[in-house]
Amino acid sequence: MTTTDSTPLVVPDFGDEATQGRKLAIICSKGNLDMAYPALILANAALGEGVETHLFFTFWGFDMITKSRMNDLKFTMLGNTATHLPQGLGGLPGMTAMATHQMKKQIHDVGVPDVPEFLEQIVASGGHLWACRMSADMMHLDESDLYDDVEAIISAADFIEKTDGAQIIFI
């Protein structure tokens, strides 16, 4: 702790110049509720730090931006040993719904928005959302099926071009 007079000598370095030019690209390839959040939280954090941020939704990650599914991502115990419960339980009828409900409640309780609202916040913070061309073709979806703020459906090569020089996170 430093004692100083009313004109503090130490002014925080908000790194406004350092962060200009830093870019982050996050590839979202999973459609599980618990796999959607890491990307959203990191993107939000990066934007709050003044970092240009791009999200690319591909394969199962498409569920995060598909209007008919984005409100209904699920969490399952199956194949997830981190719940520390017998795997057999996860296969019982209704378990995925129950686990999803519980996780949504926990997320809500810590003040974190649901997926569509989180995307809205990311876009409002200046984030860019891109959809994968191959996934759209495979799933027979076009821009009308996707969340309105998705900027475009683009190829992997386009995404690589747009994120020239970016740090890449694959989820």
Partner: protein
């Protein structure tokens, strides 16, 4: 001359040492001239801190004041949450969202 306490980065460490005059001065040091809209956010942060026990995150400021996220980015460019906390004389927010 008033004495204030700050951490190694320059954020105030004593809630009670803040004043509106000081806020204007802190803001000027990071290139911000405070308008009524800035004050709306700053006053919320000040009022929220004692009851909430920690500095409001950007989302909390937006949800509870009704100020759009976009507007907060315009008012406090680059790193809005940290800049607001600095001007409000509070620690950096520790929440993730």
């Amino acid at each position: 001359m008033t004495t204030i306490h700050v951490d190694s980065e320059g954020f105030l460490t004593e809630y009670g040492e803040w004043s509106e005059e000081l806020a204007a001065e802190l803001a000027a040091r990071i290139g911000i001239e405070l308008t009524d809209e800035h004050w709306k956010a700053i006053r919320f942060l000040r009022a929220d801190y004692p009851s909430h026990g920690e500095t409001a995150t950007l989302r909390r400021v937006s949800v509870l004041t009704g100020m759009p996220i976009k507007q907060l980015f315009t008012l406090f460019p680059g790193k809005p949450a940290k800049k607001m906390a600095y001007v409000a004389g509070l620690p950096k927010p520790r929440g993730c969202v």
